[in-house]
């Protein structure tokens, strides 16, 4: 395990990544433009990838970088930039209601920290380091006595397919037969 080789380095990187994640998260909550928010969120996801690697899940860290910081955030930034041409008006960042609503997560956080401080949790020495081999063996365990994660894996495939079809159906202007000719000016502000 990484932090057993050199505990100080492990602790140092943990707090570095933790600080970066919290700073970027605060930047997301207070960003003026959604694009700045997206950059901050990418910072959070990359910090979390580093944290997963330190917490003995290197494979998950790689998946995090590939899927979250790579694919999902690329999609978000792309859509923000596409719609920014048409919609570039100031959205009220905060009002009095928002200040009151900010108290909800604060009280949630205070309660969680209080509860967490009460119960000790110990790192189990038998915990398996999450490299691809044990993960794949558990995920694709096809025996009847196994955990059956492969069924969920197939279901995820179906859900992703449904999501793709649904996204096309939602975002496309017309489906099937072409409706009465739309005015050409419509194309200037929508994608």
């Amino acid at each position: 395990m990484f932090h057993e080789l050199n505990p100080f380095i492990g602790q140092l990187y943990f707090w570095l990544f933790a600080g970066a994640a919290v700073l970027c998260g605060a930047g997301l909550a207070s960003s003026r433009h959604p694009l700045y928010g997206a950059i901050n969120l990418i910072g959070v996801m990359l910090s979390l990838a580093g944290l997963y690697a330190i917490l003995d899940q290197p494979f998950l860290g790689v998946v995090q970088v590939l899927t979250y910081a790579g694919a999902i955030m690329m999609l978000v930034v792309f859509v923000i930039m596409v719609l920014n041409q048409a919609v570039d008006r100031a959205v009220a960042p905060m009002d009095r209601l928002a200040v009151v609503m900010g108290l909800v997560p604060l009280s949630l956080l205070a309660t969680l920290v209080m509860v967490l401080r009460a119960g000790p949790a110990v790192v189990d020495t038998g915990a398996v380091r999450g490299s691809p081999k044990p993960i794949a063996q558990e995920l694709f365990d096809l025996t009847a006595a196994g955990p059956g994660y492969y069924i969920l894996f197939e279901l995820i495939g179906v859900i992703l397919l449904v999501a793709i079809v649904g996204a096309i159906a939602l975002a496309k202007r017309r489906l099937g037969r072409s409706a009465p000719a739309a005015p050409a000016a419509e194309d200037t502000h929508a994608h």
Binding site: Q57, L60, Q64, T67, A71, V79, G119, P120, D124
Partner: protein, 104 residues
């Protein structure tokens, strides 16, 4: 001395609260979606943090569950952004307050 699991959980709680604060206090649809993504990520970190406190095969579950969460988050972002595009076409606005038509 290994990293304390409680520290990991507190970090996950802080990130979840920041995501919740983003969702509750902002009016921009993109920022709402990104706040939800941040909350999903915080939960993933919590699962990973707890997986280290379990022995043997049980700890591998802590690596498999976030994989499913990430896949669901990808589907959610896909549908959410398509909805934002569809909504923007009707109202030409990304302000969540301009979609309060059911209230009137």
């Amino acid at each position: 001395m290994p990293i304390d699991p409680i520290d990991v959980q507190i970090l996950a709680a802080v990130l979840f609260s920041l995501g919740l604060a983003t969702v509750l206090t902002r009016r921009n649809l993109f920022l709402l979606l990104m706040g939800i993504e941040l909350m999903l990520n915080a939960v993933n970190l919590s699962i990973v943090g707890f997986s280290r406190t379990l022995p043997g095969d049980a700890s591998v579950t802590g690596a498999i569950l976030p994989l499913f969460t990430i896949a669901i988050a990808a589907a959610e972002a896909c549908i959410g952004l398509a909805m934002v595009i569809a909504i923007t076409r009707v109202k030409d606005s990304v302000d969540a307050d301009s979609f309060a038509t059911m209230k009137e």
